[in-house]
Symmetry: C2
C-alpha cells in the first residue's frame, strides 16, 4: 500500500458530536467544505464522524494527521461540558488551553449586540490552544482556531451551519490560500467537478451509454449514483494530477450527447429550478392537483425563490370528495374507474386548468402504499396527467417500486419531468 505521497493537498473533514453517530442528519457541513476547498484545488478525500468522547476524538485526529495536510473539524466547540474538541486537540498536540484576549473580545462584542454578556459556559468558548490562530465568528459567539501539528493544519469550527459557512468563507479559505501561496504559484489547478442529473433511465442503462467514455489516462473519475430521484453522473478531476486542456469540457459534451434529454439538470441545479426557469421564460403559469404525492410537487416548485410568479396554486385532494369539489372531477368517473385511474388523472388536470386559467396543470393520483392496493391496482401504480390546453390531456402510467416515501418521491420527480419535457417541446415550437 502506498501512503499518500504528498498529503499537503489532501483534506479531511471531521464532524464531532455523539448525535451525529445516531441522529441521521446529512452532513451538509462537510459538503460545503468539500466545495469550498475544491474550488482552490484541495480535495477532501476522507470524512470522519466521531462522538463527544475526548479519547475517540484524539484517535480520529491522529489518523487524520497521518493522511491529510488539512483537517477541518466541525462541532464540539459549544458552551457545554459535552463539547470536547478544544480539550482533545490540546491533549493530542500538547498545547495548553488559555483564555485568549481576541477570542473573548470578539465574543463580548457579538453578545453585546444582542444585549447580553458572556455566561460561564460561553467563557469556555474563548479557551484557545497555545500557538493557535483565533478565527473570528461573525455570526455566533464561539470562535474557531487553526494550528499546525506535525505538518498538518488543524482548523476547528463550530458545527452550526450558518456560523461554519461564514467562517469558511471569511477565514478558512484565506488562511489555506496564504499557507499554500507558494505551491499555488507552481501552477496547481483547482479540483473541477461536473454533475449531470438524469431521470427515467435505469442505472445499468446509464452505465452502458457511458461505456468507454473515460479512460485511465485522463485523470478524471466518472461516478454514478442512483437514488429515488434519478441517477447522478459526475466527472471529477483528480486534484493532484495535471489535466489536459479541454479534456473535461469535451467529456462533458460527450456525456450530454449520449444522455440527451434524460439529463434534466447540471451542477447544483435542481429539477424545480429548471422547470421554474422554463415557465418564467415562456411566461407560463402552473397549477398542480395532487393526490398520493400529498403536496410535495407544490412544495418543490415553491422551494425556488420567486416562484410565486409562475406557481398559481395547488390542491391536495386526498379524499374523493375533495377531488370532486376542488377540481370538478365527475363523481361517476371516480365511481366507474376508481380514484387511481388514467381517467381521473386526466379529469384532475383538466379541472384544475379550467378552474384557474393557468397555462398548464399537472395532476397525480396513485397508490403509495403500504395499504390501498387492490387485485388489479398494485402499490406503486401512479397516473400523471398534464393539461396544457391542447385537444387532449396527456396521461402516463407508472409502476414504481420502493416504500411509501420512495414511491412518492419518484412520482413527484416523474411529474416534474413530464412538465419539463412538455415545456421543452413548447419552447421548440415557439
Amino acid at each position: 500500500m502506498r501512503p499518500p505521497k504528498d498529503r499537503s493537498f489532501i483534506a479531511e473533514t471531521i464532524a464531532i458530536g455523539s448525535e451525529l453517530l445516531i441522529g441521521g442528519r446529512s452532513d451538509s457541513n462537510s459538503l460545503f467544505i468539500t466545495d469550498a476547498l475544491g474550488a482552490i484545488g484541495i480535495a477532501v478525500r476522507f470524512k470522519s464522524i466521531v462522538g463527544d468522547d475526548q479519547s475517540d476524538i484524539a484517535t480520529v485526529l491522529k489518523a487524520a494527521c497521518s493522511r491529510a495536510g488539512i483537517v477541518i473539524l466541525t462541532g464540539g466547540l459549544g458552551p457545554t461540558v459535552d463539547d470536547r474538541t478544544r480539550e482533545a486537540i490540546a491533549a493530542v498536540t500538547g498545547a495548553r488551553l488559555a483564555h485568549r484576549k481576541e477570542a473573548l473580545e470578539g465574543m463580548k462584542t457579538r453578545l453585546a449586540q444582542w444585549g447580553r454578556i458572556p455566561n460561564k459556559g460561553q467563557l469556555r468558548q474563548a479557551l484557545i490552544p497555545s500557538q493557535a490562530i483565533v478565527l473570528p465568528n461573525p455570526v455566533g459567539s464561539a470562535p474557531g482556531f487553526a494550528l499546525v501539528w506535525r505538518g498538518t493544519h488543524f482548523i476547528a469550527l463550530p458545527g452550526v451551519p450558518a456560523e461554519m459557512r461564514a467562517m469558511v468563507q471569511q477565514s478558512v479559505i484565506p488562511y489555506v490560500i496564504s499557507q499554500y501561496e507558494h505551491s499555488k504559484r507552481q501552477g496547481r489547478q483547482p479540483v473541477m467537478r461536473m454533475m449531470f442529473h438524469t431521470w427515467g433511465m435505469p442505472e445499468a442503462d446509464v452505465d452502458a451509454k457511458l461505456k468507454g467514455l473515460v479512460t485511465k489516462r485522463m485523470s478524471i473519475a466518472l461516478g454514478l449514483l442512483a437514488s429515488p430521484t434519478g441517477v447522478l453522473v459526475s466527472l471529477t478531476t483528480e486534484g493532484e494530477r495535471a489535466l489536459k486542456e479541454g479534456t473535461l469540457t469535451s467529456l462533458a459534451e460527450e456525456v450530454r450527447a449520449r444522455l440527451g434529454e434524460w439529463i434534466y439538470a447540471e451542477g447544483q441545479d435542481t429539477m424545480e429550478e429548471v422547470v421554474g426557469r422554463l415557465l418564467l421564460k415562456q411566461g407560463r403559469t402552473v397549477a398542480v392537483a395532487e393526490s398520493c404525492t400529498g403536496g410535495l410537487i407544490a412544495y418543490r416548485l415553491t422551494q425556488v425563490p420567486g416562484s410565486s410568479v409562475y406557481v398559481d396554486r395547488a390542491a391536495v385532494c386526498y379524499s374523493n370528495q375533495a377531488k370532486i369539489e376542488m377540481l370538478g372531477v365527475p363523481a361517476k368517473l371516480v365511481y366507474d374507474y376508481g380514484a387511481v385511474s388514467r381517467e381521473v388523472a386526466a379529469a384532475m388536470a383538466k379541472g384544475m386548468r379550467e378552474r384557474t386559467g393557468v397555462s398548464v396543470a399537472l395532476s397525480v393520483t396513485g397508490i403509495a402504499g403500504p395499504g390501498g392496493a387492490t387485485e388489479t391496482k398494485p402499490v406503486g401504480l401512479v397516473y400523471i396527467g398534464l393539461d396544457g390546453g391542447g385537444d387532449e390531456v396527456i396521461t402516463r402510467e407508472f409502476r414504481f417500486h420502493g416504500d411509501r416515501s420512495v414511491i412518492r418521491q419518484r412520482a413527484v420527480q416523474a411529474a416534474l419531468d413530464m412538465l419539463r419535457r412538455w415545456l421543452l417541446i413548447k419552447k421548440g415550437n415557439a
Copy 2:
C-alpha cells in the same frame, strides 16, 4: 491519550464511494447499522467515508483496525472497475482474491430468477478474499463477506440500502452474535438510547432545564442537537459499562417532567405521526390552507400510512387570487391587511373549515424570503391560524430566522405543533 482499552465491542462503519464525498446524501446505511449493532450491545463509535481510491480505502481500513473490533464496510462491491473494496481488503490483509463457488452459485440463482445470466462485471462480484466467509445477498446479485484481520472483524456489504439491510439482518447480526457468544454470556447488555424531540424552546433553555440531570457516574451520555425542526435530546448508555437497574428509566422520567409538553415525540416517532394518532383517536379530520409553506404541511401529514382517514385535503394558495377563490378569503381583507397578516391567516383557516366541514383547519401565511419583505413585514414573519369550530380562530405570529428553506421548515413544524397542542387540550376536555 488512552487508546480504547478493549476494542472488541467498538464498531466502525466505512462508507465507500467517491460520490459520497461530494454527493450530499445522508448516510442512512450507517444509521441502520448503528441501530442493529446497538441492539446487541455494540456501539458504533466511528464513521468514515472514503472515495473509490484503493490506497485511500486501505488507509481507512488500517485506521479502523486500530480502534474498532468490528468494521462494517458498505459500497464498492459493484460490478464496475470503480468498485475497489475487494481489492483494498485483499491488499491490506494479504489475502488472495478468487472466484468462490458459493458466491457464484448464489449470484446465478438470483439472476436466473430474473431470467438473466451473470455478465463479466457481475462475475467480478464473486471474487472473495481467501479465508473470508461469504455472506449471501438475498436481494441483489453482489454477495458480501466477512474476515478477521489482526483481531478485527471486517464485514463488507453492498451499498444498496435494501441489500445492505437484508444482509445485516440475515447474516451480519447472527455472525457477530456467534463471534461474541462467549462475551455475551458474561452479562453484557445492549446499548440503549432514548430520544426526546422538542419544539419551540431554544437549545440554551433546553440545556438549562436539563442541568445536573446526568452525572459522570451514571454511564449515560446526554446529548442535545439543534436543527430547524427543534432540539433533539438523547440519553445513551455507554456500551462497555454496566448500568444500574432503572437508571435510564428514571432519567427518562425526569427529562419528561422537566420538558413537559415541549416534547412532541419520543424515539423514532415524528410530529406527523403523533398528530395523526391524536386525530385518529379523537375521530377528527383536518384540512390545511398553506401559502408560504407551499404544501409541506400536507406532505408531512400524508407521509404517514393510513393518513387518508383523517386528512381531507389541502389548498396551496400561492397567489392572492387562489386565497380568494379556494378559501373565500374576502378580497378586502387581503387589500386592507396584506396577504401576510393575522387577519388573512384567520380567514384562510375559517374558509377552509367552513367549506370542507372538517373538525379542524390549519392555515399558514408568511414571508419565506429572500424577496417579499416590506418595511413593516420582514422575511421570516409568519402567521398561523387554527379553526377548530370554536367561537374564534386561534392565530399566532412567529418571526423565524434562517434561509428560505429553514423558515419554511420552521413554519411547518410550528403549525403542526399548534395542532398537536390543540388536540391535547381537546383530549383533556373529552
